[in-house]
């Protein structure tokens, strides 16, 4: 025997943007924005700390006026380290930027469908950039560990 499903019942199947769900988005957004601001503060503090130490190191070990050799001393290590750090800070900044935009849009998504869509899209981008940042961070740990092994 074949059952007929009424049309309005079929429409219920699937995922809905209920008031409860939308209020959860806004609740998350209230926490997400200060979290991103604190992440930015931590990132800037770490960056300034690294730069301060680097400048101090250069002032103590001023480079000789002779030719620059990549494989001499620890020039290769310092250049690779600098490149990895730039990648690390870029990925982190992009993740924070996407996250901050996402939470700001979701905060005001109650009456704006475009903000809801863009905010959700940017939330995915935030997680993607944070994964990339974590990947670069892992590469940095591996790089430091390998250099120590090679130097010892």
């Amino acid at each position: 025997m074949e059952h007929e499903i009424p049309e309005h019942v079929v429409e219920i199947k699937g995922l809905w943007l209920t008031d409860h769900l939308l209020s959860q988005f806004r609740k998350c957004a209230r926490l997400g924005r200060p979290l991103m601001a604190l992440c930015l503060l931590l990132g800037v503090s770490t960056l300034l700390n690294s730069l301060y130490y680097l400048i101090w190191y250069w002032s103590q070990n001023s480079l000789p006026a002779t030719k620059f050799y990549l494989l001499e001393g620890d020039n290769l290590y310092r250049l690779l380290s600098l490149a990895i750090n730039i990648g690390l800070f870029y990925a982190c900044a992009r993740g924070i930027f996407e996250g901050y935009k996402a939470w700001r849009l979701l905060r005001f998504s109650e009456t704006d469908d475009d903000a809801l869509l863009e905010g959700t899209e940017r939330l995915g981008k935030m997680f993607r950039w944070l994964v990339i940042w974590a990947g670069v961070f892992g590469a940095r740990i591996l790089f430091v560990w390998l250099s120590r092994q090679l130097m010892s």
Partner: protein
């Protein structure tokens, strides 16, 4: 009495003003769940590295400050897996639960960042000690 599909949770009935999420939103949720899963693995890997480095430096007691990191990874993983299940089963209640987990993830994120900032202050003091005393 309002009918609901047999395989849908009986305590979810959308009101007249509520709308389906639509293909775009569901597509974005799929991407969020995918990347959030890998981010949770990254958080656990970071904790693994911290554990290794503190044990080799004989400062294992410092790991107490990183316990929120483990829960941070766990709540991120839960968010991702519940969201994936909600999308696969098309279950509204699971979807709402997933975003509740995202809220917990954000609270834990705030706690972790607070510890991170304390650790950053410690890094600054180490840098000042190093630079004021030379090599």
């Amino acid at each position: 009495m309002i009918n609901t599909p047999l395989d849908a949770p009986t305590d979810f009935i959308p009101s007249a003003e509520e709308r389906p999420a639509g293909q775009w939103m569901e597509g974005y949720w799929v991407k969020i769940a995918y990347w959030a899963k890998y981010f949770s693995f990254a958080i656990w890997a970071y904790f693994g590295w911290l554990t290794y480095s503190h044990f080799t430096a004989r400062t294992a007691i410092m790991l107490v400050f990183y316990i929120p990191t483990v829960y941070l990874g766990y709540s991120c993983f839960q968010f991702s897996s519940i969201l994936n299940r909600a999308l696969a089963r098309r279950d509204q209640l699971l979807l709402q639960e997933a975003f509740l987990k995202l809220h917990s993830f954000l609270i834990l994120g705030l706690v972790t960042i607070a510890f991170g900032l304390i650790s950053s202050l410690n890094d600054w003091s180490i840098t000042f000690i190093l630079t004021s005393h030379g090599h």
